[in-house]
Symmetry: C2
Subunit: 419 residues, 2 copies
């Protein structure tokens, strides 16, 4: 590509134009496109796997590690997943055009809100090619145009998926620019994408912390971002021990590498001597490494001393920090200081404590007597998610179709004027 800057401006301009068309597309047109994409992928399994093979070979030659190669692979099961995902998004309710809060005002006008697409969404992601399909489907269903920039190591796979997406758009009579997949591995493309506020309304980065921090710092377009998930469980002095242990074990061990995994456990002082040994027993099979405060250390065999840094850490591994706290006040203060604002859960039988925790914890998901692992778009009933936002403006927590829209005011009159 000779002039990356001209190429990206062209992509932006086309996306802006297409965004008007997609915003006005009917629900059945959008669903038709999504189902046609699913069919195109079904019929292109061979081409997809061939393109993916190219990427995998290049990746091996470049010395990518096993985990990266695994994320890059388009296995038959993952292709099934893309097809299923497209059909699920087609089945979701269309958020666009929903009208709420219509009320007559004393002046005689009727005022309410209409849900509308954001416009053009830029998505920047890393090695998983199936994200191309997921992101395209959510943007389209929510009436937005999408500019997708995947990892350079997945270029061939992404182009093959893009081909199926274009077939689906064409079959529904929608502009092929409604979903554009960047066709160059030039890194300058990202820098350009995040500095075109005239063409791009929001950026959603999906990937490692480094990528997201860099994009947030440099973007001139609003970013819906998800940084760490340093999730807490607080076992209150009025907790039911059995529920406390069940939830803690699930939150920590069901999966280690997810952002809603428990990373830091707080236990009320008056219950620590009872609950921590029971917990240790329940966790025995999982070989969890503890980083503990002095009181917890004495109760957890093999625990290491926690450093100040441990309280803010997202381990994504069989490691957990453990701290004994004096009261719910100290628990709330500790969480609001060290948490990344993702998900926290209190275990308590006290109505009053539950209410305080729900109100005072400043995180995108706050739970009572439930595993942090529930913080997920599917579990919350959003149908799908484009990511989990740890920001405070616009959308917090799992971002589904609604998070890719906003509300404008609509006013109905009959020749009304202001006096």
């Amino acid at each position: 590509m000779s002039d990356i800057s001209a190429y990206m401006r062209d992509v932006g301009e086309q996306a802006r134009k297409a965004s008007r068309l997609v915003a006005a597309a009917t629900t059945s047109q959008k669903n038709h496109a999504l189902l046609a994409m699913a069919d195109a992928i079904e019929q292109s399994r061979e081409q997809l796997q061939k393109a993916n093979e190219q990427d995998l070979q290049a990746g091996q030659a470049k010395g990518l590690d096993a985990a990266m190669l695994d994320r890059l692979a388009l296995t038959p099961a993952r292709i099934d997943g893309m097809i299923e995902g497209l059909r699920q998004v087609a089945a979701l309710q269309d958020p666009v055009g929903e009208i709420t809060d219509m009320r007559y005002r004393p002046s005689g006008i009727q005022v309410g809100k209409m849900r509308v697409p954001l416009g053009v969404i830029g998505i920047i992601y890393e090695s998983r090619p199936n994200v191309t399909c997921e992101a395209a489907s959510l943007c389209l269903k929510s009436g937005n145009a999408a500019i997708l920039r995947g990892g350079s190591e997945a270029l061939h796979s992404n182009q093959a998926i893009a081909d199926c997406i274009r077939q689906g758009l064409a079959s529904a009579g929608l502009s092929k620019h409604a979903v554009q997949v960047i066709e160059t591995t030039d890194r300058a493309a990202v820098g350009l994408l995040i500095t075109m506020p005239e063409y791009v309304d929001v950026i959603v980065p999906r990937g490692g912390k480094g990528l997201i921090e860099r994009i947030s710092a440099e973007s001139r377009v609003p970013v819906i971002k998800h940084l760490d998930g340093n999730c807490h469980v607080y076992i209150d002095d009025q907790a039911d021990a059995e529920k406390a242990i069940r939830v803690t074990v699930n939150a920590k061990t069901q999966r280690y590498g997810t952002c809603n995994t428990l990373e830091s456990l707080l236990v009320a002082q008056s219950r620590a001597a009872e609950i921590l040994p029971l917990l240790h027993q329940a966790l025995a099979a999982h070989q969890i490494e503890y980083r503990a405060c002095p009181t917890a250390m004495a109760l957890l065999p093999g625990a290491k001393a926690a450093t100040e840094q441990d309280w803010g850490e997202e381990y994504l591994a069989p490691v957990m920090s453990v701290k004994v706290v004096e009261s719910i006040d100290q628990a709330i203060e500790h969480i609001n200081k060290f948490s990344s604002g993702h998900t926290e859960s209190i275990i308590t039988e006290s109505f009053h404590r539950a209410q305080r925790f729900l109100r005072e914890i400043d995180s995108s998901s706050v739970m009572v007597n439930a595993s942090t692992r529930f913080a997920d778009g599917f579990e919350y009933g959003l149908g799908a998610e484009i990511g989990i936002s740890t920001d405070k403006l616009h959308a917090r927590g799992p971002v589904g179709l609604e998070g890719l829209t906003s509300q404008k005011y609509i006013v109905l009159g009959d020749g009304h004027i202001r006096t």
Copy 2:
């Protein structure tokens, strides 16, 4: 002030701490503080006017123009306005803690949303000292801590108002850091305020376009911003002529200097020869200057030829651009291209046309048969507004208490785990 950077960090840190306390404050505590502020202002009329006199004299000496001095003046009527405003905000419903959409999920958990404050809001404004009071009241009622940075020319007035605000906070037992008014005119304070994302969650600039553009470009904190109001009225070929003229005259002439004033009129071709001469007659007393397309020029005596720039202009004056369009399609395309995304109105008796306009116009307020002048927090029933957002993320249009909050997810279980 010797070390402005240390001062601002201190302000930020105190605001962050205070924000936890204000977020947890009860509705009656917040209302008590607001009413006590109103009383304090009532009792400090003399001090306020003395402080304001100092600013006015300094302003005159500095050669501020008459319009600026007028904005700076704290007349008795404006003091009444501040008192009345505080009492009105106290009477508004508390948005914090509202729980919506609680539903059981197949897993057994209950999921819903709780409305919560944003945290710390930084407000940067220009000469009007009464904004200090307005901004403080809206931030406090919505459970946020506020850092207020007014114009340097209003420093004494703002400090005197700040004094009353602190009296109100103290009387309700709330931290004095819940509302902090910057005590220096050092311009570096603004640069620091907008680059402390660790202490400030959102910036609301209120003032001229220059101020807002500069802040948006340099801020590392999300900005709720309001740029121009280049508002349109489109008179459709199925318009009622009488309503069309009534609304157009009101939208253009009720006030010239407001952001929701009509700036650009579009008229369907088939109705131009009938409606434009009638409109000209109705506008005769107002001496409006027209900047028109060739067709409209021929129908509007004294009209000047519009340049391309006129279509994007916010005149804030008795000037209006006028364009004859072929169809509603051309009207929608023109508006979406040239509008600043503030407010647009269609005049039509056609249900179909009204529906299309409502859906396809990408502005924060879209109206049918109503004057653009209605785009206002009070008219919409928000009770008050901190500004009008022309952004697309988070809040669009008039931003009231709800726009100063967001929603977190809450999850209720009884020991539920994910399987």
